[in-house]
Structures are given as structure tokens and as C-alpha cells.
């Protein structure tokens, strides 16, 4: 097991390497930008998938996000992490993509989230959460309306601030907070209350007749 201090060192050196690659890419080194893509694409795809709720849209969002990042790299000031900057671009692309989908299809997305991604968590507390509960969270997230899902994914999974979320989704900060409030309530109902109710009904079944 990796000690926390050693893990922090690894994270720091990884961050420094990313910083060096970003600097080289900004100076026009295409190879450095490709290296950044190779390091971040899986994470970017995960975010895109969680925001859009389907693989097809996630692919498009992912490609568009890297094109925008490539074009706008000179504008990246470096006061935030490259990954955070990329999350913002991805969120913006996903918002555009979902808007386009709504205009074309007039339907809510995200009813068929595939659950093919469950690698074990590095957090010991998270690891102790049952796999079925993790699946339930993924399903509940996928079932949220896209507008609510976007906010809760960006805030509670990717830890972006209310201000950043509002800016990238093109809404006010108070609207972002209201959506987050609703999303958390729905997730709590769909995941935790349901599991508590199911747990207690199983207890009733298991209990021997008096």
C-alpha cells in the first residue's frame, strides 16, 4: 500500500510533469500536446459520458473538447490545473451537445448508462460501499434530467466551484445552486432511501415468524 506522503509526492510530480508538457505545448510542441491527450483522454471521456449519458455523444464531446483546447491553449493562463481547464471545456462542449440534441430530438437523454467501468476505488471508505450501491448511484445519475445531472457531476464528482459550473453551463450561480439542491435530493431519494427501504423489507422477510 502506498503511504499518503508518497502518494502526495507522486501526485505532485505528476502535476509538475503536466505543467512542463503544457508549457512545451504552448510553445508549439505538438508532441507535448499529444502527450497531454494520452494522459487525460480517459478521464475526459468519463466526464463527457457522465454529462451526456451515452457513448456516442461522449465521443463527439471528447473530440470537440480537445480541438478547442488545442486552439485555445495559448489563452490558458496556467493559474488552474490543466485538467480543471479541460473539465471546463468538456462541460461547455457537453452543454452545447445536449442543447443540440434537445433541439433535434426533444427527448431526455441518459436512460441507458452502461455499467462497464467499475474499477475498485482507492478510497478505503468508498471501497467499503457495496458494489450494488455504487451501481445504484450510477443508475440514479443516469436517470437524472441532463440539466440536473450536469451540475451534480461537475460539483460532486469533479469538484468544480459553483461559479465555474455556472459560467460553463451558461446559467446563473443561483440557478446552478438550485439545480444542485434538486439533484442531491433526487439522488438521496433514489439511492439511499430506496436502499434503506429495501434493506428493511429484506429484514422483514428474513425475520422468523414469532
Amino acid at each position: 500500500m502506498v503511504a499518503p506522503a508518497a502518494a502526495a509526492d507522486v501526485a505532485r510530480s505528476g502535476h509538475n510533469e503536466m505543467g512542463a508538457l503544457v508549457a512545451e505545448a504552448r510553445d508549439g510542441d505538438r508532441g507535448a500536446f499529444d502527450a497531454l491527450v494520452r494522459r487525460t483522454w480517459a478521464d475526459t471521456y468519463s466526464l463527457a459520458f457522465r454529462l451526456t449519458g451515452n457513448a456516442e455523444d461522449a465521443r463527439e464531446v471528447c473530440q470537440e473538447a480537445y480541438l478547442r483546447a488545442f486552439r485555445g491553449l495559448r489563452r490558458f493562463r496556467g493559474d488552474a490545473r490543466f485538467t480543471t481547464w479541460l473539465y471546463r471545456i468538456t462541460a461547455n462542449c457537453a452543454s452545447t451537445q445536449l442543447g443540440r440534441r434537445r433541439r433535434h430530438r426533444h427527448e431526455e437523454l441518459g436512460e441507458d448508462l452502461e455499467l462497464n467501468d467499475l474499477s475498485p476505488s482507492v478510497d478505503p471508505v468508498g471501497r467499503s460501499e457495496s458494489a450494488s450501491l455504487r451501481d445504484a448511484v450510477q443508475r440514479a445519475l443516469a436517470a437524472l434530467p441532463p440539466k440536473l445531472r450536469a451540475v451534480v457531476v461537475l460539483r460532486d464528482i469533479y469538484d468544480l466551484s459553483h461559479e465555474v459550473i455556472a459560467a460553463e453551463l451558461g446559467i446563473s450561480v443561483s440557478a446552478a445552486k438550485v439545480r444542485l439542491h434538486r439533484a442531491r435530493h433526487r439522488l438521496r431519494d433514489d439511492v439511499l432511501l430506496r436502499s434503506e427501504v429495501e434493506g428493511s423489507s429484506n429484514d422483514d422477510v428474513d425475520r422468523p415468524a414469532m
Partner: protein, 120 residues
């Protein structure tokens, strides 16, 4: 006539999700209530657990088709080529414009000289 009063638990249940971001929303009176109320404590624990579960999803990447990486890199190649072509076209345009400007200046100069000689 009966007066309907909102119990602290019902009122607090409404702000529980927001407390995850801003614990200061809980007044000292409400905090004192929560410390004595099992219902509110359970509700608060649910939202904290939910947040923890969501945060853990970050460590569980969604499996992507490996071909996507190649598609992204190919898209970047095309964008880089387009950018290079635009730069070359821009430089050519600038050169042509410069040449045209120099030619126009030269012709203008010759015309001015010719006009002066005639008038002299």
C-alpha cells in the same frame, strides 16, 4: 382554529443538501437541534454518504473505446494542418499585398516625377 407549525426537522431537511457546500448555513440554534435529533443526524449522514459515493466515482473511469484516442489525435493532426495552411496562406497574402503596395507606390512616384517634369 389550529395553527400549522413547521417542525425544525422539516425545515432543516430542506437545507441539508446545501450544507455540504456551506456548513455556515446552520445557525447555532439549528446546530443545537441537530445535535439532539436523531432524525436530522440521519438525514445529514445520508447526504454526506451520498457526497462521498459521488466523489469516489471520480476514481472509477468509464471504459472508452481505444480507437477514440486515435480519432482525437487524427482530429488534432487535421486541425494543425489547417492552421499551418492558413498561416502559409496568410503569409502569401501579406507578401502579395506588400508587393502590390510597393508597386503602387513606385507607379505613383513615377507619375509624380513625370507630372513635375512636364510642368517644368
Amino acid at each position: 382554529m389550529t395553527m400549522l407549525t413547521v417542525l425544525p426537522c422539516d425545515r432543516l431537511a430542506e437545507v441539508m443538501p446545501d450544507l455540504l457546500d456551506d456548513p455556515e448555513l446552520l445557525s447555532p440554534t439549528d446546530a443545537a437541534h441537530v445535535s439532539q435529533c436523531l432524525r436530522c443526524q440521519a438525514e445529514m449522514a445520508r447526504f454526506r454518504r451520498l457526497r462521498r459515493m459521488l466523489l469516489n466515482l471520480r476514481e472509477q473511469p468509464i471504459a472508452a473505446d481505444p480507437e477514440l484516442l486515435e480519432e482525437i489525435l487524427a482530429g488534432l493532426d487535421s486541425a494543425a494542418e489547417r492552421r499551418a495552411r492558413h498561416r502559409i496562406a496568410g503569409r502569401r497574402a501579406a507578401s502579395i499585398m506588400g508587393l502590390a503596395a510597393a508597386t503602387a507606390a513606385g507607379v505613383g512616384g513615377v507619375l509624380v516625377l513625370a507630372t513635375r517634369r512636364r510642368s517644368a
